[in-house]
């Protein structure tokens, strides 16, 4: 139970940290990292939710959600990085000057 609480709690903490960072830091690349931290937080929480004690098997639904979520998050990050690179190349400066 404690483990689950720790995992879940740290997940929420990560989510909050990510949100805070997203709002506070203007550079777009930092926002992107913040998003990923948030994502990690959400997935963390979901995995913790799946835990049903040592004897019972874990709830499969949150695991499926996390897998899907990670795929989506990775593609989103890739797209964002592609955009950033495009800005970078076009202007010779970093994407975060905006």
């Amino acid at each position: 139970m404690i483990t689950q609480f720790l995992y879940g709690g740290s997940g929420i903490l990560l989510f909050l940290l990510g949100t805070w960072s997203f709002i506070v830091h203007p550079p777009l690349i930092r926002k992107l990292i913040a998003i990923n931290v948030m994502g990690a937080g959400v997935f963390h929480t979901l995995v913790a939710l799946a835990y049903r004690g040592l004897t019972a098997p874990a709830d499969p639904v949150p695991h499926a959600l996390v897998l899907t979520g990670i795929v989506v998050a990775v593609s989103a990050t890739a797209l964002a990085l592609a955009f950033g690179q495009r800005l970078d190349r076009d202007h010779g400066s970093s994407a975060d000057d905006d």
Binding site: T19, M38, V72, L79, A80, L87, D98
Partner: protein, 480 residues
């Protein structure tokens, strides 16, 4: 039969996206073919719902709570019809609008977006909604950056990141709900959800994520640059459909899931934000120097009206009046979809002819393109809310209800927004009457002008006068 249709409405565009990616040389033909197929499927599906009531299908026989289900009821079908007709018009227009190279990138992304959109309207569980929402955001941002200019890429990177923030927040809310109730299907959740800290926090998280995506004031900052810098057909889809999808989700969750959790103060906050959007968006539209920026700010304002409906809905006791109000909100959303898409498509033509879209210098181009100018005018009628547009009918119902409930403050906001809208629309139209040479003919390029004109015409003349079917439709599973 109906079960297949639900899946097909999502599968056709997805399949099309795969096919056009595989054969880029035939992108336009194949893309248009899947656009037509998708639209037909959606229309047949909607007709079925209109006649026989809502339908649901569970894939692979798994059923809720485990399987993936799709469901079409009156509300989802209303949005589905609007979106698919608008998307079809955008597809026809885009077929001639883009150059051969841009076309290759456009069609796969566009069909993906369409698939996500249909999926979003038909999904029944919170996680599928998250997936469609995310797909929608990704494809929308990629499409928006298609023109490749620095401004467009920067604006859409911001849009993408904000969208991600929104969906992550939404997902956290979903996780919370799952932790408490162990299920994701909206219908099942609605039976067990009860007011409390968990439901409250989940709702706050999910709604704030959706507000970001719906560009509700003051979270609208990302919208104007993203929509104004995208290519015209993309702007049309973004402004008319993508933000509308987020609104649909708010309405859906509000009606079906969070009803027991809600109270008047939440609704009033939404209404206040909506009022801010109406006033601020309209004001910025009035001050905008560029036509597409004007249209984008107008979207911010129009989204505001939709949120003003929430305090009215909460104040109205269930019954005929509330049903009317609900139908009015849906009608407003639909009309705006048609009108704004028509506006953007026409604005794109004007921009292409003039080489820019600075409003004060558009006179010549506006007069050389009577059909496009006319489309802007007709769409303008709907944006202002003049009769006989759907907006007029919707505003009439909203104002009447606000008066009956004694909520005068909302009447003032709606009327102020209407007058501001008239000011910014006619600021554009005023430039169409100068002494340029008389245009030779009304329609110059049918494949781009007719879609714009038709969309605008539907918004101004059809939706307001033939709104009765919407009431019948919403009776299927949405109205009391």
């Amino acid at each position: 039969m109906m079960i297949d249709l639900l899946a097909l409405a999502v599968a056709f565009p997805l399949l099309g996206a795969v096919v056009v990616t595989a054969t880029p040389s035939h992108a336009r033909g194949l893309g248009l073919a899947s656009a037509v197929l998708t639209t037909l499927t959606s229309l047949v599906l909607s007709l079925g719902v209109w006649r026989d009531g809502s339908v649901r299908s569970d894939f692979g026989g798994w059923g809720a709570p485990l399987g993936i289900g799709l469901q079409a009821d009156g509300l989802s079908v209303a949005m589905l019809v609007m979106s698919n007709l608008v998307a079809l018009a955008v597809s026809v227009y885009a077929g001639s609008y883009f150059s051969a190279t841009a076309r290759r990138h456009f069609w796969p992304l566009w069909l993906l977006l369409w698939s996500a959109l249909n999926g979003l309207f038909l999904a029944t569980d919170l996680f599928n909604l998250y997936v469609t929402l995310e797909l929608l955001g990704l494809s929308a941002a990629a499409l928006g950056a298609l023109s490749g200019t620095r401004a467009a890429v920067a604006a859409n990177l911001r849009y993408l990141l904000v969208g991600l923030l929104g969906s992550m927040t939404y997902l956290m809310g979903v996780a919370l709900l799952y932790s408490r109730y162990g299920m994701l299907d909206i219908g099942l959740l609605a039976e067990v959800i009860e007011p409390g800290l968990v439901a409250w926090t989940a709702m706050a998280l999910m709604f704030s994520g959706l507000f970001l995506k719906a560009a509700l004031f003051p979270m609208h900052f990302w919208l104007p640059p993203a929509h104004a810098n995208a290519p015209a057909p993309v702007s049309a889809a973004l402004s008319a459909l993508v933000v509308k999808a987020a609104f649909y989700l708010v309405l859906r969750l509000w009606l079906d899931l969070f009803d027991p959790v809600l109270n008047a103060s939440v609704a009033n906050v939404l209404g206040l934000l909506g009022a801010g959007a109406v006033i601020w968006g309209s004001w910025r539209a009035l001050r905008a120097e560029r036509l597409k920026l004007l249209a984008a700010y107008s979207t911010v304002a129009q989204m505001g009206y939709l949120f003003i409906a929430f305090p009215l809905l909460v104040a109205t006791p269930p019954g005929l009046a509330r049903d009317n109000l609900l139908a009015a909100v849906v009608l407003l959303a639909m009309t705006h979809g048609f009108a704004k898409a028509g506006f953007f498509l026409a604005a794109g033509l004007v921009q292409k002819t003039a080489g820019h879209d600075r409003i004060n210098e558009l006179g010549g181009a506006a007069q050389a393109l009577p059909a496009a100018t006319f489309a802007i005018g007709l769409a303008g009628v709907a944006l202002i809310g003049l009769p006989p547009s759907g907006t007029f009918l919707a505003k009439w119902i909203m104002i009447e209800q606000a008066m009956i409930q004694g909520l005068w403050w909302w009447v003032v906001v709606i009327m102020l927004g209407t007058l501001l809208a008239a000011a910014y629309i006619f600021r554009v139209l005023g430039h169409a009457f100068n002494r340029e040479p008389t245009p030779y003919r009304f329609v110059n390029d049918a494949r781009t002008e007719i879609p714009a004109l038709l969309l605008a015409f539907i918004s101004a003349f059809v939706l307001g006068l033939i709104a009765q079917p919407l009431w019948t439709l919403l009776d299927q599973g949405v109205l009391g």
